[in-house]
């Protein structure tokens, strides 16, 4: 892997982007091939109404007769030029079908990330500091319990607690009417975001705790203390930057997981995002939409990983200067 050297941080980013694009290319092949297995989209669209004549008419309309390879390159070309095709189910361009939904899901994921990451880093670090003490025991076990609860359970329990049965504080659903923005309804976002936060925080805080403990045990933290540095300096300047490096990867994986995890949450809260769109598209065998969503989610994963790598490099001079 000699060519994977040199060029400093910019060179690294360029190489990672190229690698990411390679992954995306492979992803696109897999997505295309596997969505071919979804079967005849015309029949899928018509469902019970698939009488031979209607079927024939639709197949012609969908232009399903050209070669598979040709279809793939046509699709790929479309992807690259921002044309995701036309939804089979709604006959609308995929971009317009998904545009608002992507924005909605992004709001959820970004909010969840912005809230859960600092919280879990704080909890994990503090637990590591108070290792084996009350806070650590309580938070570790709580995190374990939360991690054990599937997110739909968390969501359902939140609904029962906060909106239907116990208290009536928040709306039970978050429909975000079309033409409006998710952030116009802060009260509707509370529960979905809380569910996602609860889904992510345990893992991040656990890793943060472990990483922090390792750093606190390290020679250089002991050395910093032996230098007579104030504890604050030891923690903030010496421990934290080193502890956070390995956590970036975990955050990335978890946020990428969120992009898929929204499926369940959106279904509970009837939140019009990509999760519901995916379930719907899969049920309708709406191949262009499934393809677009698969590519989107994969892209999110690739980008998050890239960001995590870059972030890790940035906080790890050893890696940075080796580039």
């Amino acid at each position: 892997m000699r060519f994977l050297r040199g060029g400093g941080i910019a060179g690294f980013v360029i190489r990672r982007v190229l690698l990411g694009l390679l992954v995306m290319l492979l992803v696109s092949i897999i997505v295309f091939v596997s969505t071919q297995l979804l079967g005849d989209p015309a029949r899928a669209i018509l469902g019970r109404d698939a009488t031979p004549d209607r079927l024939a008419a639709l197949q012609k309309q969908l232009n399903l007769d050209s070669s598979k390879v040709g279809q793939y390159f046509h699709w790929l070309g479309g992807l690259l030029s921002g044309d995701l095709g036309t939804s089979l189910a709604s006959s609308q361009p995929v971009t317009s079908v998904l545009g608002a939904r992507i924005a909605n899901s992004a709001v959820l994921v970004v909010l969840a990330a912005v809230i859960s990451v600092p919280i879990s880093i704080a909890i994990g670090s503090y637990a590591a500091l108070r290792r084996e003490k009350v806070f650590d025991t309580v938070s570790s076990n709580l995190m374990l319990v939360l991690a054990a609860l599937p997110e739909f359970v968390v969501a359902v329990l939140l609904v029962i607690l906060l909106s239907t049965n116990v208290f009536h504080l928040l709306p039970a659903i978050s429909p975000v009417p079309p033409g409006t923005h998710a952030w116009d309804y802060p009260d509707e976002l509370v529960m979905p975001v809380a569910t996602l936060v609860i889904a992510v925080a345990p893992y991040v805080s656990r890793i943060m705790r472990a990483s922090m403990i390792e750093v606190l045990e390290s020679d250089y933290v002991e050395m910093a203390r032996l230098k007579g540095l104030p504890e604050r300096t030891v923690l903030i300047r010496h421990a934290l930057p080193n502890a956070i490096g390995p956590v970036f990867q975990v955050i990335a994986i978890n946020l990428a997981y969120l992009a898929g995890g929204v499926v369940v949450i959106e279904s509970v809260f009837n939140y019009p995002g990509i999760g519901l769109a995916l379930v719907d598209a899969v049920n309708n065998h709406d191949i262009p939409v499934v393809q677009a969503l698969a590519m989107l989610i994969a892209a999110v994963y690739v980008v998050l990983n890239l960001l995590a790598d870059v972030a890790t490099i940035l906080v790890t001079p050893r890696l940075r200067t080796r580039l």
Binding site: A50, T51, S163, P171, P175, S267, N284
Partner: protein, 503 residues
């Protein structure tokens, strides 16, 4: 036999209070998705039904007892002869763009349905209509000639997919202003899979009360119930039967309508092992209808007798109610050499109850030594559909002959049982059907229907355990809802959202 449906609740609210204008009626509907559409004469999903009836009306209408009434756009639909009808339009009806409804619109509407390439739901029902030769007599009168006698024409015209659209009408393609009907609400915005908003049309020819109707898609009934309980919607479709008691406590009411809808277990009469009438007979003796009604419908529904269309005037009430008889079923199977039969039963989540029916039936069949494996196949309505020996399907309320035309003739689009047989009892079914269509005398037609039903009862391929109820729920603020025997939820969505109002 007879149903044991608990007394429907919520029906008496309409008596209370006088209608009031105003408000935004928020309806939550399951079963929608990105396939959602809007067309005055077509539906794909359940929310489409609700959307259709906001803006489009039919020439004739069914009342809450599923009886034909000329309360619709036509003053009358008369049979001039077995092969010709005359349609007379009501005066003073305008489309939502102010243009009056005329004979041209009716001709355009019927021809639109009758053109196969348009792919509309009602196409099959226009088979007997001489669509090309529809004739405008005057601005308000249309002559509908038939290719062959068809006494079901008035019923057909009353089906909700026979909505009247203005001449030149096209399905929704992104512009709400194209959705012009004669109905009480005019489309304001529509996002498939999510929501549509409908504003009151002030020039509507009858009364309507809401300022606005908002139809929201839900992915599952749990979210729907939560939303209703939480006050985020005013009404919802398809409350699971087992939730009727649970929701009562929370300011929410159930609307239970006994309909003629049915969930049959379909045996293809020409496929093994059901090509032997004894096996079919045995299966029908195995099923415990009351248990199915209790467990799947929570008791909301009516025991059926393997026959459909209970509200049809020609429904054969004289045939004895089949009861479970395991012993006889066993001996029938034995004499057919099919003891210990093992068979796959295909089903899908197409309508609520389909999967459960298969499960419950499978467990009942064990008593007779029949081993049924339930196959829940999400692609059921794909290549396999209509080619299966043993499957579950669903149907809504229809008149008998309409139903036969849809599902029980060799050329029917949805003939799951491959009925009728080529020989033996029932092989004259097709001829009888034609006779019945041509018969204008109600009593005589009923006799023919009885004969047809007898054949289906004896050797047909359907097991019809019960007629289900449509159970919907609404907040107690919503007034004017009464149970209805019709096909559509919430009493035809409050008759196109015009007979309901907020207290």
């Amino acid at each position: 036999g007879g149903g044991s449906a608990p007394a429907p609740s919520g029906g008496d609210t309409s008596a209370a209070g006088t209608p009031k204008k105003g408000g935004n009626f928020r309806l939550g509907v399951t079963g929608g998705g990105s396939k959602d559409m809007m067309d005055g004469q077509n539906i794909v999903t359940k929310p489409d039904q609700a959307r259709l009836v906001t803006a489009f009306e039919t020439l004739l209408e069914f009342d809450d007892n599923y009886q034909l009434q000329s309360t619709g756009l036509a003053e009358s639909v008369e049979a001039d002869s077995p092969t010709q009808y005359t349609i007379k339009l009501r005066d003073g009806i305008t489309f939502q763009n102010g243009k009056p409804l005329t004979a041209d619109d009716v001709i355009y509407s019927l021809q639109r349905i009758g053109t196969q390439a348009n792919g509309l739901t009602g196409f099959a029902a226009t088979a007997t209509m001489d669509i090309k030769n529809l004739k405008k007599i005057d601005a308000k009168t249309v002559r509908l000639p038939l290719l062959s006698a068809d006494s079901t024409i008035p019923q057909t015209l009353a089906s909700y997919t026979f909505g009247m659209v203005p001449k030149g009408y096209q399905a929704y393609k992104g512009d709400p202003s194209t959705q012009i009907g004669t109905g009480p609400y005019k489309l304001k915005s529509f996002t498939p899979g999510q929501q549509s908003v409908h504003e009151r049309y002030d020039g509507y020819w009858r009364d309507s009360y809401f300022d606005q109707v908002t139809i929201t898609d839900f992915s599952d009934s749990t979210a729907q119930i939560n939303a209703l309980k939480g006050g985020n919607i005013d009404a919802m479709t398809d409350l699971p039967a087992n939730q009727v008691n649970a929701i009562k406590s929370s300011g929410v009411e159930a609307l239970i309508s006994q309909t003629g809808g049915w969930i049959p277990i379909c045996m293809a009469i020409d496929m093994a092992p059901f090509d032997d009438p004894k096996v079919r007979q045995a299966m029908r003796l195995i099923i415990d209808r009351q248990q199915i009604l209790d467990q799947i419908g929570s008791g909301y529904g009516q025991i059926a007798n393997d026959l459909y269309s209970p509200f049809d005037a020609g429904y054969n009430k004289d045939l004895p109610q089949r009861e479970q008889d395991i012993e006889q079923a066993k001996s029938l199977l034995k004499s057919a050499g099919k003891e210990g039969l093992t068979v796959d039963l295909h089903t899908t989540n197409g309508a609520s109850g389909m999967v459960e029916l298969a499960s419950v039936f499978a467990s009942q069949a064990k008593q007779a030594g029949v081993n049924i494996t339930v196959k829940n196949d999400p692609n059921y309505y794909g290549d396999a559909y209509l080619k299966l020996a043993f499957s579950v399907d669903f149907w809504g309320t229809r008149g008998y002959l309409n139903q036969v035309q849809q599902g029980s003739l060799p050329n029917s689009p949805y003939n799951e049982t491959h009925w009728p047989p080529k020989s033996g009892e029932g092989s004259n079914f097709g001829d009888l059907y034609k006779q019945a269509l041509a018969e204008t005398d109600d009593a005589k037609r009923a006799d023919i229907q009885h004969e047809m039903q007898k054949a289906e009862y004896d050797v047909g391929g359907y097991i019809i355990p019960y007629f289900n109820s449509l159970i919907d729920a609404h907040s107690s603020q919503v007034q004017g809802l009464k149970p209805s025997k019709g096909t559509l939820n919430l009493a035809g969505f409050g008759h196109g959202f015009r007979t309901i109002w907020f207290a």
